[in-house]
């Protein structure tokens, strides 16, 4: 028994030591950046041998809350300035945030759906899914619907709002509800629609598009300030921007 306990204790110690050694750069990035930042991190790792980038993707609002509660992130890439401001208002930045990308909103519907523009969402019985209001994608969708009031009238937009059946925790889960065929439509970023199988993308008019800005910041007290700065510079570099463009991101507006 004592031998077993000693053995267990040494195993725990070895595991803990491994965890301590395996530290690298930790990047917290908005859900919509999942594919682009996975590619960027791989390119960064191959340019910096021996460096391991740990990526954590979630709604920017979730990540901001985690950072405010002391999560050990070195870099934070948010899908809107509001969630970035929660972090910078607390003085957690090493330098002011930099905008690095833009995006557009689109409608996604299951293939074969009869929804072909925004007005179709007002039809009774349409199951519309948006991201939660505090999540950037949900906030932008609310802005888009607000702008639509001026074009289609308040009554129609109110009918669209009445068809919202869920406000999802992040934009990827919002899109997934359509990919699973459970919802009739979702308002997500153009970049989320690209990678989804079995869905149809319906573009939304320029006049309704909110200004979508992705800011990035190096956090104060980052474990690896030099690496974090290098990652920031890499995202903003020409190859970094080209990689973002490959995944459908626009330059920052």
């Amino acid at each position: 028994m004592t031998r077993f306990l000693r053995w267990t204790a040494s195993l725990v110690l070895v595991a803990a030591a491994n965890l301590a050694l395996a530290q690298g750069l930790t990047v917290f990035a908005a859900s919509s950046l999942t594919d682009a930042f996975t590619a960027l991190a791989q390119a960064f790792e191959s340019a910096h041998p021996g460096v391991h980038v740990t990526l954590d993707f979630a709604a920017s609002s979730t990540l901001a809350t985690q950072i405010l509660q002391g999560a050990p992130a070195d870099v934070f890439a948010s899908a809107n300035p509001i969630q970035m401001a929660r972090v910078t208002d607390a003085g957690l930045q090493a330098a002011p945030p930099t905008p690095f990308a833009g995006n557009r909103l689109v409608l996604v519907t299951p293939r074969g759906s009869s929804v072909s523009d925004l007005q179709d969402l007002a039809r009774p019985g349409t199951l519309l899914v948006l991201a939660a209001p505090q999540v950037p994608a949900g906030h932008y969708a609310d802005e888009l619907l607000h702008a639509a009031e001026g074009v289609y009238g308040t009554a129609l937009v109110e009918r669209i709002r009445a068809n919202v059946v869920s406000r999802e925790p992040n934009v990827r889960q919002t899109a997934a509800k359509v990919a699973l065929g459970a919802a009739d439509a979702a308002i997500v970023y153009a970049t989320d629609a690209r990678g989804l199988a079995g869905v149809r993308t319906v573009p939304l008019p320029d006049a309704l598009q909110p200004a979508i800005v992705y800011p990035l910041v190096v956090l104060r007290g980052a474990g690896h300030a030099d690496l974090a700065d290098a990652f920031r510079a890499f995202v903003l570099s020409a190859p970094g921007r080209a990689a973002l463009a490959d995944y459908g991101f626009a330059p920052p507006p």
Binding site: T2, L5, A64, A132, V165, S166, R167, L180, G181, A182
Partner: protein, 259 residues
């Protein structure tokens, strides 16, 4: 006694786990116990979520008792081929990750789901409604009730029921006056476990029912959403759920000791 554990090690490691199990609850309650708590209780988000949680769990608990009791009785008193397989299937929701349960329910009840598609043709939509919330709670929580009651029915000697029948009690009367009182502690245990599990349901609910205030956003979902918006409200709801669960556990212990 070739190898005896040193008492210090035994107490020390025991304490470590106890501290881990107790401290998070205390941290939550300590943080929530502030003047802001009472203000947060009046927050419409909290009231709406509380009302929805109470309503949906009341329905799912009633349905669990209504449908779960005969299932438990049949499983306890009958033997048939494939019974072990059926019992394992009925226990599966207990060990299934709730998100997986939600995905299964969505693929069954969603607009293009196995049952969802024919239902949609009839104009009935289940996914993303309060009904979906109740079904998610039933799926993850009712097996707890069935398990408790099954064990209780098994340990009730059929000879007692037989005796009642020979005294000209009807079968229903026998069940009511003999079987049920004997299974009362298990009934209470099953209800408490099922209710608290349903009250805390998150993973399956958010997948099959989504999250919409007043319709599908129960307390755990509201806590998750408010964590990013209004921490006081999230803390208040967390404290309510914790106190409710703790109160129910204490009440259950008293009741079973009395019974």
């Amino acid at each position: 006694m070739r190898t005896r554990l040193p008492t210090g090690l035994l107490v020390g490691s025991g304490l470590a786990l106890m501290v881990l199990l107790v401290l998070p609850t205390l941290a939550l309650l300590a943080r929530a116990a502030r003047p802001a708590f009472f203000g947060a209780l009046l927050d419409p988000t909290v009231a709406t979520a509380l009302r929805l949680s109470l309503a949906t769990t009341a329905v799912s608990l009633a349905a669990t008792v209504l449908f779960g009791t005969p299932v438990a009785y049949l499983l306890a008193r009958t033997r048939f081929r494939g019974k072990a397989l059926l019992e394992a299937l009925l226990d599966l929701p207990l060990v299934l990750p709730p998100v997986v349960a939600g995905l299964g329910l969505l693929l069954l009840l969603g607009r293009r789901g196995l049952l969802g598609a024919p239902l949609a043709a009839l104009g009935v939509h289940v996914a993303f409604t309060s009904t979906a919330v109740v079904l998610a709670q039933l799926f993850v929580a009712s097996p707890l009730y069935v398990r408790s009651m099954k064990a209780a029915f098994r340990s009730t000697p059929p000879s007692l029921e037989a005796a009642a029948v020979t005294l000209h009690a009807s079968r229903l009367r026998t069940f009511r006056r003999v079987t049920l009182p004997l299974t009362l502690p298990a009934f209470l245990e099953g209800c408490v476990l099922t209710w608290t599990r349903a009250l805390g349901e998150f993973g399956a609910t958010i997948v099959v029912a989504g999250s919409l205030a007043g319709r599908t956003q129960t307390m755990p979902l509201a806590i998750y959403a408010e964590l990013e918006r209004n921490l006081d409200a999230a803390l208040a709801m967390g404290a309510i759920l914790t106190l409710a669960a703790f109160g129910l556990l204490l009440l259950f212990r008293r009741l079973t000791r009395a019974a």
